[in-house]
Symmetry: C2
Subunit: 222 residues, 2 copies
Amino acid sequence: MSEPLGPGPHTRVRRLPEKALYDAATVFDIVDAALMCHVAATVDGLAMALPTLHARVGTTIYLHGSKSNALFRAVLDAGVASLSVTIYDGLRLARSAFESSIAYRSVVIVGATREVTDPEEKHRALGAVLEAALPGRSREVRAMSQREENLTLVVALSIDEASAKVSAGPTTDEPDDAALPIWSGTVPARVVYDEPVASTDGAMAEGEVPLADSVRRLRERT
Amino acid sequence: MSEPLGPGPHTRVRRLPEKALYDAATVFDIVDAALMCHVAATVDGLAMALPTLHARVGTTIYLHGSKSNALFRAVLDAGVASLSVTIYDGLRLARSAFESSIAYRSVVIVGATREVTDPEEKHRALGAVLEAALPGRSREVRAMSQREENLTLVVALSIDEASAKVSAGPTTDEPDDAALPIWSGTVPARVVYDEPVASTDGAMAEGEVPLADSVRRLRERT
């Protein structure tokens, strides 16, 4: 049994509450499965959302970017931010446009933000972001230099409130519509990875560097 | 030759300006190719971003939702909003974590918002949103009723400012790194559609409703 996470005042799902789920396991599964997120902040007086990579470690989300990233600076100045994660799962096609929708899993998180300055936490957070993008890759790459870590801004967002929405399964048509000779159903969608394109510079030019295990596993999962 | 769209004060790409593109054709192609967008607004004092479907008609983006959608209400109250579109294109793997990134196409749009109340524009906008999600589907579904149109909120966002960022192609390693025996390259990603799952109610239960042409074409493109 997964502990409840919320919702709080910002994350209560007002619309379609029957789709709303708040338990931590559901929220975490969606966050972990998502390739990217959108972080929202007020920049120059306007609410903006920008895409970025993320990693979850327990109840903390780590984000990384340039030290000059205006959105991340706004997120840190505000001390609180919201983050949205959305996974597109396909089409849910009813006989009417009104009852048609898409299949998706989405999460909105709201929490306190802080810059990660502790060198050890920062190092772990950067490794976690790379692992989230491609499991196993952090053990393959050249170790990060102190200069590179210094150039990178790491933001921690505490998962203080969260809500999930899951839209899946068959659509519900009005009884009169179900009798119409219109095809109805769902069309599942997923992300696949195609043939890797190897770099041609340096040691790769010799053709003697084997495909990374991380990429091989990613392709096998496709 | 595509006309320039901006950037304006909100959409100038400050970071990695070499990736920034502002011409209308680039912006429109990304917006049209994206399955969903995230709309940002300030709700209860906090910048939030929520996923939604969208359609572009000329220099207008149409969004639709429930009349009680708090984020759309905030977008209309503010009279201006920003919208982000992000397409995940895969992994760009350098020999170092620092030079690794993802391949993506993204757009940020900022513009004036208004509720679409003209019945003809609203009808066209709703058709456009369905067509954007699945080309051809608007000609297959049962026509929308007046009641359904009345229940639906349609928001128009004028593309007043826009910027695009495109991250693609091989990564650039530091010269010392290129000599390392670490696999480097890109792994392209794309969305595919799997076998449709037909509804089993109403006329579909008889098994005599052929697969919709829109879905067949979608699957052929996969």
